[in-house]
Symmetry: C2
Subunit: 263 residues, 2 copies
């Protein structure tokens, strides 16, 4: 089955809008970005539009490329004073100490759950995996989960969460020798490599669940890590675009509401 | 090759003793234990003897079984005032909130590296794996590492460290279906399951490295997770007793010195 992420997202947005009205709150989300690429600008415009639709005010601070780590931290501290949530929109230029910047977002404001100390909300990508699996009544304990990529946004939080849920996990990368050895044995594949067609049908078993959180661009078209033909073997398949992505944005905004309600 | 952990430990102890003399310090290690089993008491006596030999004063606080979480936390706070390092000797009774207790040990005193915020020292078991691999000039990046067990002392810190070092990791448990699928493909197996003979020769490839940090007792004899016959196929094999264990105790004491020197 191909997961319709846009429909799931629409349901989540309807819930969020109701929750905001019922609680009579006006959550505020501050986004810090630094030298954004055109793709980042486009992605932020989408977040802003969705935020507005549900009743969240999003403000974006765009820093120039030569901003120092200290200056980024100061911007975050300023944003914390006025916003309910603060997110750091990656990627940032390589001269910036990302760990230092992310640690400056206090757990009370960390809607992206990128500070290792944050426990009140799940990483939006992980929350999207959880939501999709739950809607399809997939149990996780004792499943074999292969995670491709070990980045901050997908691989690391997914590995932690699936292990905590009692799954047997393998964390591999696009460069791992014998990648098919790990994908062929998986009940669930979570991919965040950002390499189009990294996962092909002959690499996955019949009935596999593919949660594709990888995105890359090919001539202006958004591509996932899994070739679309994988959907024929998968029991559950999230396409790119229209799969994990929209659910992730919706659950980021749900995190903003959750954090606003606990203040 | 069978790793001689006792000889490695002896070398580390000699270094530690020299370092303590050179710096003219008298490090103090406080151990908090609660309703210890006879095995724990024996293990603590070993730690205390080794500590004394190198010039570290170890004091043990033994709490009764009905101690509350809050009372454990208070004991830790008291110990922090007088000791350079404080360790919580697990296991603790099940009614105690272990995460809460471990979080009470500040990173400046956390020689066991069990508080998630501790970065100054490595978990002693992980440090022992690192030491043994380094002495045998084993590179880790891109290796396939299968970790059996996902506990606080072995599985979790090993998974994090090997992933950070660029290995492809699988984290499985003694109950994972098709455990041999993961062990057969491993370059390195790190085991912390505590199940004697869980790993048998037919489950491992020729040339594998086995770092056996699992211990269990069988009629008063200490056993590892790997059957001793695995050593015939392994290029590097740590026996139980006499492998990872002695190196782990030595590196715990090295952590005590490291933390004492940064105060």
């Amino acid at each position: 089955m191909i997961v319709d992420g846009r429909t799931i997202a629409a349901e989540i947005y309807a819930d969020i809008a109701k929750e905001i009205q019922a609680a009579s709150i006006s959550p505020r989300l501050a986004v810090i970005t630094c030298a954004p690429t055109p793709a980042t600008v486009q992605y932020l415009a989408l977040k802003e539009r969705k935020a507005k639709e549900v009743g969240i005010t999003m403000v974006t601070v765009t820093l120039p490329e030569d901003t120092s780590t200290d200056a980024c931290v100061e911007e975050i501290q300023k944003a914390v004073e006025t916003a309910d949530s603060v997110i750091v929109q990656l990627p940032f230029p390589s001269h910036i100490d990302i760990d230092g910047v992310l640690a400056a977002v206090p757990p009370s404001h960390d809607a992206d759950a990128l500070n290792p100390e944050t426990t009140a909300v799940l990483s939006p990508v992980v929350a999207a995996c959880k939501e999709i699996l739950k809607r399809n009544e997939v149990a996780i304990a004792e499943k074999h989960v292969t995670i491709i990529g070990s980045g901050r946004l997908v691989g690391k939080p997914a590995a932690k969460w699936f292990a905590d849920m009692g799954a047997a996990i393998s964390v591999v990368t696009k460069d791992t020798a014998d990648l098919p050895y790990y994908t062929m044995h998986a009940d669930i594949i979570v991919s965040g490599a950002g390499v189009a067609n990294l996962i092909t049908p002959e690499m996955v078993p019949e009935g596999v669940i593919i949660l594709d959180a990888g995105t890359s661009e090919d001539g202006g078209e958004l591509r996932g890590d899994a070739s679309p033909a994988c959907s024929e073997k998968a029991s559950l398949f999230t396409p790119v675009p229209g799969g994990i992505g929209p659910v992730t944005v919706a659950l980021l905004l749900r995190n903003v509401v959750t954090l606003a309600l606990t203040k």
